[in-house]
């Protein structure tokens, strides 16, 4: 049994690598090419300790599930299919986005073509609140060092953070997906990701910013830039490694422009958040006030001799 498991596991790893490299062999939800790829995809999904007979059962089950019609978008069951994840799957996907590897495509290896909306939604919500809270905390800590800084809860920043992040995770994947669909029509090639898979990739790639934002509390500027750069590198790498198999069949120019736009937008988001929520505060707060207070002192003495004279 153990030997069969090991054999099965190696097969799946090679097969999933093959799947990652040949996008048109992938099973999307509407496709009819089920049996070899379908069974590989499902068996890799559940963690790799299958025996031979269980593979066959799983492939039959997926065949049945995929033949069943997707419920219409007005039914609750339609949306429930996007939340069909377990705790361990979500954690696994998060780990996958934190550690991008060049051969491993996030969509194929982690999502296994079953995107979920739980991860992106709650990661964005957490990031928005963490940004607002730590931005506020920075102001509190700065005020301790320099009481002249006016502290306010700045509650409107929560709204701004929320809207920005949600728009980013919905609109940018929409544009990317639209662009890839257009190129697909031009090139007549199957294989780009569905819209939800793109949203999923973007959502999970933002996870690395949550601990980074908390670390931005440390008021050392070069350390903040270092953490920001690291987070941006990890996050953008995850995006690039995922997009590379889809984009590399295209012309070099289009591929280069697309990938650099993706990275640039990501960098813009990161720096925008850094500047808006963690405004660099003056490090030498004692310099201006003495000048301000010395002026009135200079003005005061002249009037008194005149009044004494008169």
């Amino acid at each position: 049994m153990a030997a069969a498991d090991e054999l099965a596991f190696h097969e799946f790893e090679e097969a999933s690598n093959l799947l990652a490299e040949t996008p048109d062999a992938v099973t999307t939800s509407g496709s009819g090419q089920l049996t070899p790829q379908g069974h590989v995809a499902v068996a890799v999904d559940s963690g790799g300790s299958y025996g031979a007979e269980e593979e066959v059962e799983e492939s039959d089950k997926t065949a049945l599930l995929q033949e069943k019609q997707q419920p219409g978008f007005w039914t609750f069951g339609y949306y429930q299919s996007f939340f069909d994840v377990d705790t361990c799957q979500v954690l696994d996907r998060i780990r996958g986005s934190l550690l991008p590897r060049p051969g491993h495509n996030f969509v194929r290896h982690r999502l296994r073509n079953r995107p979920d909306l739980y991860g992106p939604f709650w990661i964005c919500a957490t990031l928005a609140f963490v940004l607002a809270v730590t931005g506020n905390l920075t102001l509190v800590l700065a005020q301790r060092r320099d009481p002249s800084i006016h502290y306010s809860p700045q509650f409107h920043k929560v709204t701004v953070a929320g809207i920005t992040i949600y728009c980013y995770v919905w609109l940018v994947p929409l544009a990317l997906w639209g662009f890839l669909q257009w190129r697909k029509r031009v090139r007549e090639r199957v294989g780009p990701y569905t819209f939800l898979e793109t949203v999923c990739v973007y959502g999970y790639s933002l996870f690395v910013f949550i601990p980074t934002v908390v670390l931005w509390l440390i008021p050392v500027p070069w350390l903040q830039w270092l953490f920001g750069a690291l987070a941006l590198a990890l996050s953008a790498a995850s995006l690039v490694f995922t997009l590379w198999p889809v984009v590399r069949e295209d012309t070099r120019l289009v591929a280069a422009v697309l990938l650099s736009t993706v990275v640039l937008l990501h960098a813009l988001l990161a720096t925008g958040c850094k500047f808006y929520f963690f405004q660099p505060l003056p490090l030498e707060p004692l310099a201006p006030p003495p000048q301000a207070t010395s002026l009135p002192l200079n003005l005061l003495p002249p009037p008194t001799p005149r009044s004494q004279v008169t």
Binding site: F83, D86, T87, V90, F129, V133, P153, F155, K157
Partner: protein, 193 residues
């Protein structure tokens, strides 16, 4: 109480007036939140009066007395309301989408009632803020808010956890944690002008 019963229109009835009955039900649920046990009272006869009272109280207490509060950025009354209700609805939807078997209003009821410890924390914070400000003041408030935050989470988990399949419990509980964390943050950063 007897006079009220007689004036309900039918002589000789002993049923209490609906208002007193509802208030008693709300009070009983408050007790269940303060001493959370695995009981079904909150779930069986849910009502939204308690959450409404708590939300309005919390939103009123979070108002600052200064005139320029719209620039200074403390949460406005409407913002608190929106956060509490929108947050509760989102968590309920999330729970149902993950496959939980709790009804929409039952979940809203539980989440709303479990704001009670945090409302108490707000009350205590406002009283503590009447004393002079300083690090000790802040430490006391921080301690109270942390204790009440934990109490809220424990209370709501006791009621909500059983409605989820075991492999998704953490996914359903995490948004509750985020929700009460945000409310606690609003309470902790409250500074009267």
């Amino acid at each position: 109480m007897a006079k009220a019963a007689e004036s309900s229109g039918e002589p000789g009835t002993t049923s209490p007036r609906p208002l007193m009955r509802d208030l008693k039900a709300v009070g009983k649920k408050f007790m269940h939140v303060l001493y959370p046990r695995k009981s079904n009272t909150l779930l069986r006869d849910w009502d939204l009066w308690g959450p409404l009272i708590l939300c309005v109280t919390l939103a009123l207490m979070l108002q600052r007395s200064s005139v320029d509060s719209e620039k200074d950025g403390g949460p406005q009354f409407a913002e608190v309301f929106v956060i509490v209700w929108f947050g509760a609805v989102t968590i309920t939807l999330n729970s149902k989408l993950l496959g939980g078997n709790i009804s929409f209003f039952q979940s809203l009821c539980v989440l709303g009632y479990c704001i009670l410890p945090l409302t108490v924390a707000m009350l205590v914070c406002r009283l503590v803020l009447l004393a002079e400000q300083g690090p000790i003041n802040f430490m006391v408030r921080l301690f109270v808010v942390i204790v009440m935050f934990t109490w809220s989470i424990v209370a709501s988990t006791a009621f909500l956890a059983d409605s989820q399949p075991p492999n998704r419990k953490a996914l359903a509980i995490y948004p509750v944690f985020l929700f009460y964390f945000v409310i606690s943050w609003m309470i902790l950063t409250f500074t009267p002008q």
